[in-house]
């Protein structure tokens, strides 16, 4: 049928983040004979990882009880914690954080570079015999007789016009008894699998956030390793969910970032500019003085929690980590849940393999019996409360939920809208005046993208596929005034000739693979597809 080569494995894992790597490790721990192959679209493991990150070591502890002796890069324990509600000029520190917002009590947690953690996990996995191939994107799900039988990597060397170039190399079929999708939030193959097997039937729409992050190096005298700062409130209006983080870690490094809930309504909102201007607030500004910015990156995350988790298994495989939506939003943590889900999926797969079952269905019940489920269950009403009642009342509800109900409310709040349905027409929204970058603390998009080391082979088809350009003009431009040119944190989308006949330019080589366009486009007119493998950002150590 095709010129592609094929190879058979017991398990193929798509994505080398914490979920995929934890699954790979667990599979080999449970069955050292199992043939496990993991592919990653980034040029190396960690190249596409963006996270805060404060991580809870619970799942790691279960995976490797001796993680400390093995030299896991969890070096900065959380020492101090501050949470602020911001107004334009002031910051109000939330007292007794561990009681009011117990989800955010970070005692025993570590500030890490999640990219570094993944690189370390990959070393452990390789030592256990997992075959890891970075630089290869899963481009196609292979489905035969209604069973997922593996994935195919993308062809290399296809020219911009879609022709085979001089360096054309066909993709390869990685066939497996079980295929685990661990692509992170809004995985492109996960999206196809969900659709094919109708996995989202009966669950709430997923709601997302866009996290934009910078890593800074600051003068040693200002560095307080283990300091964790969070904020909500200004600069977002009450209806918009989100806030900033700032963590001191490593060798004089600061991780700063901002998450904007993608169910925002104001089409003029720019998550990038919200992130930039928050740095100027007195609560944050002092941390950046005298420092230099080293790295920039962005990634969407799933915020829906329990109500939005789809069916987890299908014939021939399962969804892991943030591909399924296991992030604990009030905790703003997804690494431990991603790893746990990967480990449970691995157990179910080994079990299914023994019995020669097509679907590793035990995964769902294992999740239900685990702390992962309890945790997400008790957190389930917080994020929808913000979606319903706004930031201030939402925060009050969250405090009530934590202190009085203790996460055991007899009701469950639901999400009513997908994020692409929430935008309001430009004529009904108030434009936002963002300050100009000062090039010391705040910067523009292009100089930021530069620090993500993003590269795509130039001569290849555009991997951001607009289904219907006509729709862009009549909806995105005429009604919303090109929201993609504002929500995209990498200046991929540009509306040009706006005085005459507006059209969209797609600078796909800038894409940092955050997936926001796939999520937020009002008519779901943009499909994020995998570009040629190894393309995208190259986040260095420390990210």
């Amino acid at each position: 049928m095709s010129e592609r080569e094929a190879m058979e494995f017991d398990v193929v894992i798509v994505g080398g983040g914490p979920a995929g790597l934890a699954a790979a490790i667990r599979l080999r721990q449970l069955n050292p004979e199992a043939n496990v192959c993991l592919i990653e679209k980034g040029s190396e493991i960690g190249a596409h990882i963006v996270s805060g990150a404060v991580i809870e070591p619970r799942a790691l502890e279960e995976l490797f009880p001796d993680w400390l002796e093995r030299g896991a890069p969890l070096k900065t324990p959380v020492t101090e914690e501050e949470m602020y509600f911001l107004t334009e000029k002031k910051g109000f520190r939330i007292p007794a954080l561990d009681r009011v917002m117990p989800h955010l009590a970070n005692h025993g947690n570590y500030v890490v570079s999640l990219g570094d953690v993944c690189r370390w996990l990959a070393e452990q996995a390789e030592a256990l015999g997992v075959e890891i191939y970075p630089g290869f994107a899963g481009a196609e799900v292979l489905i035969e007789k209604n069973r997922v039988v593996g994935v195919a990597t993308g062809d290399m060397g296809i020219t911009r016009d879609g022709e085979k170039g001089p360096n054309y190399q066909p993709g390869m079929e990685l066939r497996a008894k079980y295929t685990l999708f661990a692509e992170g939030c809004r995985g492109s193959l996960t999206k196809q699998v969900m659709e094919h097997y109708n996995l989202r039937k009966g669950v709430d729409p997923q709601t997302y956030g866009l996290g934009i992050k910078e890593v800074w190096e600051i003068p040693a005298e200002n560095h307080r390793p283990g300091l964790v700062v969070h904020s909500f409130g200004w600069p977002l209006d009450d209806k918009t969910y989100g806030g900033a983080w700032l963590y001191h870690f490593g060798e004089n490094l600061v991780s700063y970032g901002f998450v904007t809930g993608l169910d925002y309504e104001n089409t003029w909102l720019s998550p990038f500019d919200e992130m930039q201007r928050t740095k100027l607030h007195p609560v944050f500004r002092k941390h950046f003085e005298g420092g230099r910015r080293l790295i920039y990156g962005a990634r969407a995350l799933s915020e829906g929690g329990l109500q939005s988790i789809p069916r987890l298994t299908f014939p021939g495989g399962a969804l892991l980590g943030d591909s399924a939506g296991f992030l604990n939003t009030p905790k703003i943590k997804g690494t431990h849940t991603a790893m746990k889900s990967g480990m449970l999926a691995a157990e179910a797969v080994i079990d299914a393999m023994k019995a020669d079952r097509v679907e590793p269905a035990a995964y769902t019940s294992l999740v239900r019996q685990s702390w992962l489920y309890d945790e997400l269950k008790s957190a389930r009403n917080v994020r929808p409360a913000f979606a319903r009642w706004g930031s201030k009342l939402g925060a009050l509800y969250a405090g009530f939920d934590a202190m009085v109900l203790r996460g055991k409310a007899p009701w469950t709040l639901h999400f009513k809208h997908a994020d692409n349905e929430t935008l309001k027409p430009a004529s009904l929204c108030t434009p936002i005046a963002y300050p100009k970058p000062d090039n010391k603390i705040t910067f523009d998009k292009l100089s930021s993208v530069f620090l993500s080391n993003t590269n795509h082979e130039e001569d290849q088809p555009v991997h951001l596929k607009v289904r219907n350009m006509g729709l862009w003009k009549t909806v995105n431009w005429d009604v919303f005034r090109s929201p993609e040119s504002r929500y995209c944190p990498a200046a991929v989308y540009e509306a040009v000739d706006t005085d005459t006949e507006a059209r969209l330019v797609i600078n796909s080589q800038n894409c940092v693979h955050c997936k926001t366009c796939d999520i937020k486009d009002p008519t779901q007119n943009i499909d994020w597809c995998t570009p040629e493998g190894a393309g995208g950002p190259n986040y260095p150590a420390g990210m």
Partner: protein, 249 residues
């Protein structure tokens, strides 16, 4: 005909490196490393010569830390038949590299040594020439075209103002320039197969080469940042500024 291709593990060309805050060098820890792009071109050319039947075997060699074996695996995935890793400290100097390569050449007896013209990390452009000097071989540097004709290497070189073709008796040294070819992708099946190709590891010290550093880095600094431009209101103002401020007309 046997071809030896030395390959260097360098910081990937997509990465923007930063000067260490103490100015002693460039921060390389935890950065993505790849094969020096000029060496990729050398590997590609050697593999093409073998595919054309002009060469019989392509051997990749790298000198450096253990992780340089990843670079050798890439070379083998591109088509090199086997490889040799010479373990040494990180980033030895060109003269030490040339001496190690001389020892490898004496052992393997290749007819051609095919190098990248320079490495993108230190831009020395010295190893190929030094190796030619140490071996007393002819050299065709900055090659943009290579042909094997009657057992001789015809190398078209990029020189100021045009090209020059030299005919070298083998054994000889060739260093690859950018326009020689466009290297192929290491495909996934070939990466899998490369895992099974032979990779020999030896210690630089066992070759009896003096690796002592002879160069001292005085300081490393980032280039000055470009000052922001201004908008001028009229051509007259532009001319005035060019004449009186920039003093270029």
């Amino acid at each position: 005909m046997k071809i030896l291709v030395p390959v260097k593990r360098v910081v990937d060309y997509n990465i923007k490196v930063l000067v260490k805050s103490d100015g002693t060098g460039v921060e390389t820890a935890g950065l993505k490393m790849s094969m020096n792009p000029f060496d990729e071109i050398a590997v590609e050319e050697a593999v093409r010569l073998r595919e054309k039947g002009s060469a019989t075997e392509v051997i990749a060699v790298s000198i450096g830390v253990q992780q340089a074996q990843d670079t050798l695996r890439t070379a083998m995935a591109m088509g090199a038949d086997r490889s040799i890793l010479v373990l040494s400290e990180e980033s030895p100097e060109p003269l030490a590299v040339a001496k190690v390569l001389k020892a490898i050449v004496e052992k393997e007896k290749p007819d051609l040594v095919f190098l990248g013209k320079q490495a993108i990390d230190d831009d020395m452009n010295a190893t190929g020439q030094m190796l030619a000097g140490l071996l007393g071989w002819g050299q065709g540097t900055f090659a943009s075209k290579v042909e094997i004709v009657d057992g001789r290497a015809e190398v078209t070189r990029e020189v100021d103002g045009g090209t020059e073709t030299v005919s070298l008796s083998v054994p000889a040294i060739v260093t690859a320039d950018l326009r020689l070819n466009e290297p192929r992708y290491a495909s996934l099946p070939n990466i899998m197969k490369a895992k099974k190709k032979p990779l020999e590891t030896i210690q630089a010290t066992d070759l009896g080469v003096d690796m002592t550093r002879r160069l001292t880095t005085v300081s490393v600094a980032e280039p000055p940042t470009r000052k922001a431009g201004i908008k001028v209101g009229s051509v007259a103002e532009l001319v005035e500024k060019l004449r009186n401020e920039a003093k270029v007309i």
